[in-house]
Amino acid sequence: MLPYLSIPKENILSRITHTNTCPVAKTQPKSSAAKPPATPALVRQERSGKCRLGFLPEEWFLFVHPFTGVSGPYILMIALANYGFSKEIIVCEHEYYGGLTWIVLIYLVTTRAGPKIGEILDQKVDAHENEFKKSRTEEEAIYLKTIENEKEAQMQAQGQELLMQAKKENIAMQLEAAYRERLMTVYNTVKGRMDYHVKLYAAESRIQQKYMIDWILDEVKEAITPEFQEQVMERYIQDLGALASKA
């Protein structure tokens, strides 16, 4: 089916709370591993805990508050220092002053250059982390893309209903085209024959008329005799003379 499924599906959460390398996982019976404990997933802290005086954990102060009050730990420190100096546990030789200069230097470096160095290192860590995150988003994208593709394929498969409708319509169109062609054939044939008859009768009557005129003319010409022609000529001359006298 899907070849790129690499991560086993079974119970990842239970494996996370106690990893294979964790000794607890080995001592626990196998059956309990099937049920993931309700503890929330482990979250790594991004920054270190709160400090006082730059290096002493807050928790130490909170620990002694019930016995000594709020200013107690400071008094305790001063008292301890005092005790140390007076009993020469802390010896003020040259190493001591060297130590003071080191403290000053370390303080200066951490306060001045510390944030910038931290930023650079954070960037590197972020780049590393983003690489990992990218692999996960890519994996997610593969599954999302699979789902999307499958849905699209389903949509396309169901689109075949449209194809069937189109096929039916094509058939209907071809039938209609054939029918219309038939109608037009009938129409053209009938109209053509009608026109033929009309033209036939028109031609016949025209030819008959022509022959009739010719026949009449021929008969008239035959009826004209030489005497009749002479009479006509004389009549012409008389008419011309009458016209000449008038002019």
């Binding site: 899907l2 991560i7 699979t146 449209l162 069937m164 189109a166 169109m173 039938l175 029918y179 109608l183």
Partner: protein, 177 residues
């Protein structure tokens, strides 16, 4: 006759949207065919033009001929061509429906599986709060495992035994020039 084709009702843009890309060519030729059919239909009017019988009657000297023609023309009904293929298309469609159903079911299975895998991936702890142990358990292939898969310093792929660069691989595959 009852259901004569009136005008095209195919929703082409919707259909084009649903055609898989590898069948676009077939779709285009199908559409072209359909358009030629439509053109053939449009080549003739839906009903033939009226014949001017009165006009003929005026110019026709022979009595009864026009009437005879008119009577026989009007009494003649043009048979509508028989539809033999629609049933086949219906049959195709019923067959296809089963196939589509099957396909959709299989596809839904795939979707379900992908969704399950997606849920698994999303349920994993974020990388920023993983320890090396968790990483090793979740990604045994990628995690550092010096016991089972030791590597030579400085642990880059090109420093290991049996490493071949691209040229060497190509030479081995293609046999060189």
């Amino acid at each position: 006759m009852a259901n004569r084709f009136k005008k095209p009702s195919i929703n082409w843009p919707e259909m084009a949207r649903r055609v898989p890309p590898d069948q676009k060519g077939k779709f285009i030729s199908f559409k072209a065919k359909s358009e030629t059919y439509l053109r053939k239909v449009m080549a003739h009017p839906e009903v033939p033009p009226k014949i001017d019988w009165d006009g003929y009657r005026k110019v026709m000297p022979v009595a009864g001929l026009v009437e005879k023609f008119q009577k026989s023309y009007e009494s003649f009904t043009v048979p509508y061509p028989k539809d033999t293929l629609s049933d086949k298309v219906d049959q195709q469609w019923t067959e296809l429906q089963g196939k589509i159903k099957e396909f959709v079911a299989a596809s839904n299975e795939n979707i379900k599986e992908a969704e399950a895998q997606l849920a698994v991936v999303r349920s994993l702890p974020p990388f920023e709060s993983m320890t090396m142990e968790i990483y090793r358990d979740l990604y045994p292939e990628q995690a550092l495992d010096p016991v089972n898969r030791p590597t030579f310093w400085p642990h880059a792929p090109e420093d290991q035994l049996g490493y071949e660069d691209r040229e060497q691989k190509a030479a081995q595959k293609g046999g060189g020039h």
